[in-house]
């Protein structure tokens, strides 16, 4: 039932190994005998710890991907970039204004973007990185936050940027500014928090805490379930 997999050559930092076709780069490295310390965080495409660049024999084109999400291909020459020395501004979010001026002040290099689109081409999340950088440059924080939302901060864009911009840190700043200042606060959350600290639910909760299993089970089985279609 289990298919025997064909072995293919790949070159890990230039050294040849034979690995089964179909594995991810990460699993292929482990198959080859590597044990990860760096370059492997979540193994699921969420932490951005496994950025990898590769190129095929005879091809000038430099490609990139996440080691945990990219399949090995015959004659791939690869190296992982587990860390990239990135510039991050220190700031106190409480003192910032959600404006383009803030972005430029904290990250003046933003203005050096030459719209070469390399960042977009390199992004393993298929994010339009250059578009959000242009939005940020225009002070359109909302678009920058929205477009960059799925960024996992793997660092590949910054590694390739000729203007030495660290796109993902600017994006994170945009999302934090947007989340904090540019959407109305969820008042119902604060209202409920206040009700709780005023003791509105104390009695009910302490009764529940004292209830025995039989009563709890009865209450639990009896509780009504909000229908799926209801609006809120």
């Amino acid at each position: 039932m289990v298919e025997a997999k064909k072995l293919i050559p790949i070159y890990i930092t230039g050294k040849k190994y034979l690995v089964p076709n179909g594995l991810t780069i990460m699993k292929a490295m482990e198959y080859a005998g590597y044990r990860y310390i760096r370059g492997c965080g979540c193994r699921g495409g969420f932490c951005g710890g496994c950025g990898t660049v590769y190129r095929f024999k005879g091809d000038y084109k430099l490609q990139s991907g996440l080691a945990c999400q990219t399949k090995v291909v015959e004659n791939m020459y690869l190296v992982q970039i587990p860390f990239f020395p990135a510039n991050k501004a220190d700031y106190n979010l409480d003192e910032l204004k959600p404006t383009g001026g803030t972005l430029l002040k904290l990250y003046p290099e933003l203005a050096r973007c030459v719209s070469c689109n390399t960042c977009t081409k390199v992004c393993p999340q298929d994010i339009e990185v250059m578009d959000y950088m242009q939005a940020a440059l225009k002070g359109d924080i909302k678009s920058a936050a929205d477009i960059s939302f799925d960024c996992i901060m793997c660092g590949l864009c910054a590694a390739r940027c000729p203007a030495e911009i660290v796109q993902y840190n600017i994006a994170l700043l945009c999302r934090r500014l947007y989340g904090k200042y540019m959407t109305p606060k969820a008042e119902h959350v604060r209202t409920r928090a206040a009700e709780i600290s005023e003791g509105k639910f104390d009695k009910e909760l302490s009764n529940l805490m004292k209830s025995d299993v039989h009563l709890l089970r009865k209450l639990y089985n009896k509780r009504d379930i909000e229908p799926e279609e209801s609006k809120r």
């Binding site: 699921g44 999302r175 969820a186 604060r190 709780i196 509780r223 809120r232």
Partner: protein, 539 residues
């Protein structure tokens, strides 16, 4: 790229879709659920538990894989350890760089403490960053903390520690407000109202989300804030042992994974926030957890004398990926079911209501595949059932999946599967450590000046956690631990550094005739091939 058999099965599924959309399905009664679990849940299988021979829970049964780590010697020799040079002296040491650790560090510092955060991988490489679905809080008009309480405790089999559940549901709205103030981009209506949906076992829609990068968005924000506040962080340096003095925790020994050196940290108070245990691969199940989820915190706290609770069970997530091979074990978020995707067998039939608790969902899927033989087999011989994701777009409109589940969509697209057009094949995966070290509502452990927060601690969820309550747990208890540890540190002096507890533990191990070859904590799993390992030479 599904095989022909799989495509045939998908055709059957598509034929029944019209009928299924309208089909009503009742919840299991308590008795039906009990029987289902008893027969098919992996926790109930014979031979999965064993009695502990030593330590504070001696005589109690825990999962084999956990027992293996508890019944093991320290990585260091306590009789031969040099404490003469201390590397760091801090008020509060936070061990673990996930959601709980980051929250604890921020709040500790706010309360005046000098904080050091040590973590095993990069800061933020954690289970927190992987959470997609969302975070619960009872903050809507039709909802209330007592209601949340009832859902939590019912989901947990009524065995949860009441004081901890109380704290969880009470602190929840404030935790959400705190995150919102830090700039977490929650999904909201135009007027600022949080968009909330159901999760398995919820009686009200109280799952808050940030698209399907909920944990990622939270983690990135917290990490950024920790950096802004210049809190010192040491990466790639897991704690391998606590340091104690007569029942008081006085620091920890870290291990620099890159240079193989140990690092001595002396602290007034210490917070364990090391997360879960998915990478133990209990019963050889695949896992959804990050690379560093190896139960280290449990091991070192247990060795120092702190008991654990509910370590006789594990949460399997009902919908781990079963195909393609490259992503087996990774999570297909519960949000899919929350949005209406149904579970369907090889005949095209539903077999369980999709919003049962996770243990019941998992057991039902295993029953379908193992007993009833109605699973769908993959080319590598794995079996699973369909999660009919195209229904999401049918119910909520075209484009919903791409908008609300971009991470999921992308994950499958990378392997040429379009989940808005084709269903996904799923099977349970090891997901969450329901139990953990015992703490009280102040997050204090039994060891003085040692606190525990997040997935490492147990009792909150009883024997079964509901989705959305563990992100909540790591924020709520992380903040509590941060505050309490900082305040306690103000009243505490540095203690003596000894490994008395390890010496005692080693004696117990010896008396129980446990082999010296067993060592823990594990720190990282080893995924190299047996062939490679057998040829290794030590130079």
């Amino acid at each position: 790229m599904y095989s022909q058999d799989m495509v045939d099965s998908i055709n059957r599924l598509e034929e029944t879709r019209k009928k299924r959309i309208k089909q009503d399905f009742t919840l299991l009664t308590s008795e039906e659920k009990y029987n289902l679990l008893n027969q098919f849940h992996p926790d109930y299988k014979k031979g999965t538990l064993r009695e502990l021979r030593i330590g504070p829970n001696k005589g109690e049964r825990v999962i084999n894989e956990i027992a293996n780590l508890f019944e093991a010697y320290s990585q260091i020799d306590p009789n031969n350890f040099d404490f003469s040079e201390i590397d760091h002296e801090v008020d509060v040491l936070v061990i673990g760089g996930g959601g709980a650790g980051a929250s604890a560090a921020l709040i500790s510092q706010e309360n005046g403490a000098n904080v050091l955060l040590a973590t095993k991988l990069r800061f933020g490489d954690s289970n927190t960053i992987m959470a997609q679905g969302g975070i619960q809080a009872a903050d809507k008009q039709n909802d209330s903390p007592p209601r949340h309480y009832l859902d939590v405790i019912g989901g947990g089999g009524f065995e949860n520690t009441p004081e901890l559940v109380n704290v969880l549901v009470r602190d929840a709205p404030d935790a959400i407000a705190w995150l919102e103030d830090l700039g977490v981009m929650f999904d909201k209506e135009i007027d600022g109202t949080m968009i909330t949906i159901h999760g398995g076992g919820t009686s009200r829609k109280r799952m808050h989300s940030a698209r399907d990068y909920s944990g990622g968005e939270i983690m990135k924000t917290l990490k950024d804030e920790v950096k802004n506040r210049n809190i010192e962080v040491i990466e790639y340096s897991p704690a391998i042992e606590l340091i104690t003095d007569a029942g008081i925790c006085t620091g920890a020994i870290l291990y620099n994974l890159e240079t193989d050196e140990y690092i001595i940290v002396r602290s007034k108070t210490t917070i364990l926030a090391t997360g879960g245990a998915g990478r133990l691969h209990v019963q050889d199940f695949p896992t959804s957890n990050h690379y560093g989820a190896t139960a280290d915190g449990l091991v070192i706290a247990y060795r120092a004398g702190n008991p654990v609770i509910f370590m006789d069970n594990i949460q399997y997530h009902p919908t781990g990926a079963a195909f393609p091979e490259q992503i087996v074990g990774l999570l297909v978020t519960e949000k899919c079911r929350g949005l209406g995707a149904q579970l369907v067998n090889n005949d095209g039939d539903r077999f369980i209501y999709e919003l049962e608790t996770r243990d019941a969902e998992s057991a039902a899927i295993i029953r379908e595949c193992v007993e009833r033989n109605k699973g769908i087999e993959t080319p590598t011989g794995m079996s699973g059932v369909w999660l009919d994701t195209p229904m999401i777009d049918i119910i909520h409109g075209k484009g919903t999946i791409q908008k609300k589940l971009p991470a999921m969509y992308r994950q499958y697209k990378r392997f040429d599967i379009d989940m808005s057009k084709e269903p996904l094949l799923v099977y349970p995966t090891q997901h969450f450590q329901n139990g953990g070290i015992i703490v009280n509502e102040k997050t204090e452990t039994k060891i003085i000046n040692l606190y525990g927060a997040g997935e490492v601690e147990g009792g909150v969820h009883g024997r079964n956690r509901l989705m959305g309550n563990s992100l909540l747990e790591c924020i709520v208890f992380g903040r509590r631990a941060g505050k309490n540890a900082a305040l306690k540190a103000k009243k505490t002096n540095y203690g003596k550094l000894t490994l008395q507890h390890v010496k005692r533990y080693h004696m117990e191990l010896k008396q129980a005739n446990i082999s010296k070859d067993c060592k823990s904590p594990m720190l990282l799993p080893d995924y190299r091939r047996k062939e490679t390992i057998s040829r290794m030479i030590d130079i």
